[in-house]
Amino acid sequence: MTTAVADTHAADHEDHGPTKGIKRWLFSTNHKDIGTMYLIFSLVMFFIGGAMAMVIRSELAVPGLQFVHPEFFNSMTTMHALIMVFGAVMPAFVGLANWMIPLMIGAPDMALPRMNNWSFWILPVAFGILLSTLLMPGGAPAGGWTMYPPLILQTGDAFPFLIFSVHLMGISSIMGSINVIVTIINMRAPDMTLLKMPMFVWTWLITAYLLIAVMPVLAGAVTMLLTDQFFGTSFFLAAGGGDPVMFQHIFWFFGHPEVYIMILPAFGVVSEIIPTFSRKKLFGHDSMVYAASCIAFLSFIVWAHHMFTVGMPLTGQLFFMFATMLIAVPTGVKIFNWVATMWRGAMTFETPMLFSLAFVFLFTIGGFSGLMLAIQPADVQYHDTYFVVAHFHYVLVPGSVFAIMAGAYYWLPKWTGFMYNEKLGKLHFWASTIFVNLTFFPMHFLGLAGMPRRIPDYSTQFTDFNTIASIGAIGFGLSQLLFVLVLLTAKKGARATDRVWEGSHGLEWTVPSPAPWHTFTTPPKARIANESFE
């Protein structure tokens, strides 16, 4: 790379808008500022969605109706899911991507910085609209996050606001993923070939392609709901010749890849952390890339396992059952590689590593219950029970959320320039791990015993496990306050070195801690880059 090119490169990214006050955040085009805003937004949403979970679990602590009207309970389950999926988990990963992808590939910023600003600021508007439905006549949407017609069409005044906010979330996600793809394809350091990219970058590239393919599908589905409700069409209305099952097919064509959108970046985070604290290179980097690509491909051809009970030809049932089971193979490759990375490594157990280890163990439990659900004859029994709730919460909480926590602890010293309080971090980890299992493990038994999901009351034989789950949920919710305490005290620790962790590797650790506002204004030199890649 010649000096002239490096200078032009730098000059192009010099202006990131105002540097002080509220305008810095409103008009920022700096990937670090936007990453920080995404992460703070997702944490706020995590607590709002968590508060809704507390309402749900308080109501379910004992049989009978305690605190809320059943309609409101249904609103809580619907809003909890929408907020956690689109407001907490996805923006958290986009925040990590914004912060870390340019640092990891040696780029000065994201390729489309203005669009980056826009894609973030759409989100508070979208969730402002969604949350405002709680105050509307008829209440917030209560038909489930899957928005199945005809039930969802019975939503009151909130319906068009729900559709509009989902469209906005989709636009934000699509713009975010366009930025990720364009950045990774065009802005890598000169010597960084695709297969030399860190796993977090790889998993995000694959995730971004998934998002590009499936978020428009969700947008199409909700557009059709909107026209069915207000413009006299009958896409999904049986009375007008439409087909409500078609909505389920379209929704799950989006919905299943969405699951991988929420877990692939988690794989990436864990694949960065385990080698660092094992002081070894990631075992089988290339096979991890191929496994993630395989998972992404398979995620497009398994959607109907979510709807085995709607009735479909036997060949369809068999295809979707076996295709789903096939996902266990590349997932198994990943878990094997993480374990092989740790094998005979000089392991230490700092908070990011603890969260990553819990991820490997507990995500695997969620994976196994997913395999059980993939067995069509058994799914008829499990369908719409608490077993499903247990399964996807194991995948999303000790899976995605733990990976986000691991990533936050891992990169926090690089972001702030200070070491966080390790004791508080470990306390947060152990409280989270104990309570997450206390919350979700009993739900497997409830589901196997036949307790249906999305109900505010239940038969008395389900009391014990529900009470345990509710105690666990409240404990888990409270233990997340420890994370806030860690963040509030983040600048009271010792100064972080540039490398932060003894075993860390990659370009992001070659810049100072805290990472300066402008990094890699001159693309990193090949020699340094090569050392870092290894």
Binding site: V182, P216, V217, M224, F235, I250
Partner: protein
């Protein structure tokens, strides 16, 4: 790669990705239209 070429590549990649997104959006609505 010079800066002009990089910008051209960024524009090209962006247009390709946007086209994929629009195709999926319109395609799935058209599927609904054709079935209805």
């Amino acid at each position: 790669m010079d800066e002009q070429e990089r910008k051209k590549n960024i524009r090209r990649t962006t247009m390709i990705v946007v086209a994929i997104a629009v195709a999926f959006y319109v395609g799935f609505i058209m599927m609904g239209v054709l079935r209805a």
